[in-house]
Symmetry: C2
Subunit: 151 residues, 2 copies
């Protein structure tokens, strides 16, 4: 009783089910946004995590590693090398925390301040591009809904 009917094959992939799922769409959008980010930030030699750290230090002078980890959902051991590299590049400095002897506060150097300012300008252009596919009010809605998911 061999099966001699021809097996089915696929002309156009039906993605309707996956596209109804949050995780699939979040991953695809995350990949596209990440690729565009890398493309523009290569000239600063900043990966997404580097940019996030520098930007948080700019807006929160004296922030500690622990606070960075909590904010960015990074494990403490994975932040050590990242901050160390930024320090070796002369972009950030670590000083003893004035109120907690266990902690180190992070501060931008003048070179770091300049780099972050340039990088944030570039990121603003990026967001403007995303908003061109989306419309400013759609972008605001998207951010608001994403925040509802992770908060």
């Amino acid at each position: 009783m061999s099966q001699d009917k021809e097996l089915p094959w696929v002309e156009t992939v039906d993605t309707s089910y996956l596209e109804s799922l949050l995780g699939y769409n979040a991953r695809r959008a995350f990949l596209v946004a990440g690729a565009k980010f890398s493309e523009r930030m290569d000239r600063f030699d900043l990966k997404p995590a580097d940019f996030s750290v520098l930007s948080l230090v700019l807006h929160n002078p004296g922030i500690t590693s622990r606070q960075l980890c909590a904010t960015l959902a990074i494990q403490p051991p994975n932040l050590v090398g990242l901050v160390g590299a930024l320090e070796r590049r002369g972009l950030v400095e670590r000083h003893p925390h004035p109120r907690d002897g266990r902690a180190m506060g992070l501060h931008l150097t003048p070179a770091g301040e300049k780099l972050v300012a340039d990088a944030e300008r570039t990121v603003a252009e990026l967001e403007a591009e995303a908003a061109s596919a989306l419309s400013p009010s759609e972008l605001r809605t998207l951010l608001k809904l994403l925040q509802k998911v992770y908060r």
Copy 2:
């Protein structure tokens, strides 16, 4: 001329700038959605990529590796081991493609069909949970906007 003014420290982290960026929000939401997914899918021993592949094979019998790669933004070499493992678990079978001698068509086994059906039911519960934080119409809007980003 030593600096003897006390250095600043951070009480509450100001995340307002990062929260205005698409990439940051997409990553955070993706992490939360992924964690909830893993939590529920552990009993099926399916990672997100495994589920996506099985689900695509269910809805597209005979789909090829190349089509899976394009749909899921996975590199071909990284799909080989994934499909191989599903095959060794007796969930999928690979048969020669009826129209292209280079390709292999993927098909679910009866065991694979049962597992995917159970897994999709579980994922439906997951989405319902997300929708509880979001409202059904907000979830629809979120998916639509994410698709605009990556298409």
